[in-house]
């Protein structure tokens, strides 16, 4: 079991957020799916920016967030 803390990654093309803890069921990524385990060919589901142009962010959530993975 990977004990490393879950991380959050933001798309630098549009701001789409991928949180390892939450995954993204809408895009076939189960909760707990590590960024490293997502294929390099994966692109931002909102804007098509390639995976390598995401940035790991250590920004806290706003109060009450995340409500769900599909907050948009």
């Amino acid at each position: 079991m990977n004990s490393e803390l879950f991380k959050r990654w933001m798309c630098l093309g549009c701001g789409f957020l991928y949180d390892e803890a939450l995954g993204s069921a809408e895009h076939g990524l189960a909760p707990g799916t590590r960024w490293a385990d997502i294929p390099e060919s994966w692109v931002c589901p909102d804007c098509g920016t390639p995976k390598h142009l995401f940035e790991m962010v250590e920004i806290p959530y706003a109060p009450g967030q995340p409500v769900s993975q599909q907050t948009a």
């Binding site: 959050r8 933001m10 798309c11 630098l12 093309g13 549009c14 701001g15 789409f16 957020l17 909102d46 804007c47 142009l53 940035e55 962010v57 920004i59 806290p60 959530y61 706003a62 109060p63 967030q65 995340p66 409500v67 907050t71 948009a72």
Partner: protein, 249 residues
């Protein structure tokens, strides 16, 4: 982290987006419509420069050319997107409910937060020149928001005016970033003092010729500086216009 850098106008990234072909669903307008984008930091296909400056990730100097040219409705999250209209007119429509028209001097801050879409259009035949500045927020998935402001050069010339940030009359954003503008119509010298020794200042010359810390900058040249030392900005007799983006690291 480098302490300072100079970025000349022609050293910026350059991209041309057509309203036909591969970008046709992204770029609005008639077939002859084109967006040109000069990027101070890495964005889109331009990835050989700097990846941002402090909390700022995008600084795009864009021209929407041709009637109806712009970006079709498209989604964002999280980023605080600021647009400063320099020339022409920008119509912005967003899913917060705003339909807004902005002319030279007008600007907005659209915080996409938990999700919002917007559309950016030039509905006139003359070019629209807009500066886009994208800022990381201090919290993720904030409630989306939109606010606009106006820089009136005629009434605020020859002094530094804060447009975005924690100041009277400025548009507030959820981040430790301050954007100010200095428009001069005569020779002046002014000092820009960073908020703290940890802050950095990115100065972008919109127009004219400016000397900052004894280095001369022309139209669309820029300078990034980290540290507590004030910036000495010297403008000779000709008109000049400078945008300052101050950010936490």
């Amino acid at each position: 982290m480098e302490n300072s850098f100079v970025l000349r106008a022609l050293e910026r990234g350059y991209d041309k987006l057509l309203s036909t072909g591969q970008t046709s669903s992204y770029v609005a307008g008639h077939p002859e419509a084109t967006i040109t984008r000069h990027s101070s930091f890495d964005f889109g296909p331009y990835q050989s420069g700097r990846n941002g400056f402090g909390r700022v990730r995008v600084f795009g100097d864009e021209v929407f050319r041709g009637l109806g040219c712009g970006y079709n409705m498209h989604p964002h999250h999280n980023f605080i997107i600021c647009a400063f209209v320099l020339e022409g007119q920008l119509t912005t429509i967003n899913t917060i409910g705003n339909i807004d028209q902005l002319g030279p001097g007008d600007y907005y801050a659209f915080s996409a937060g938990s999700g919002g879409k917007h559309c950016e259009l030039n509905l006139r035949s003359e070019d629209a020149n807009i500066l886009y500045v994208w800022i990381l927020p201090d919290q993720l998935l904030l409630p989306p928001s939109y606010a606009r402001g106006r820089f009136d050069a005629a009434h605020t010339s020859n002094r530094l005016v804060t447009l975005v940030g924690d100041a009277d009359g400025a548009v507030r954003v959820s981040q430790d970033v301050k954007i100010s503008r200095l428009s001069a119509d005569r020779g002046i010298t002014c000092t820009y003092r960073p908020n703290s020794s940890a802050h950095g200042v990115y100065a972008f010359v919109i127009d004219g010729k400016v000397s900052i810390n004894d280095v001369t900058f022309g139209r669309r040249d820029s300078l990034g500086v980290w540290g507590p030392a004030p910036l000495t900005v010297n403008i000779d007799t000709e008109d000049a216009d400078v945008l300052f983006v101050e950010t936490a690291p």
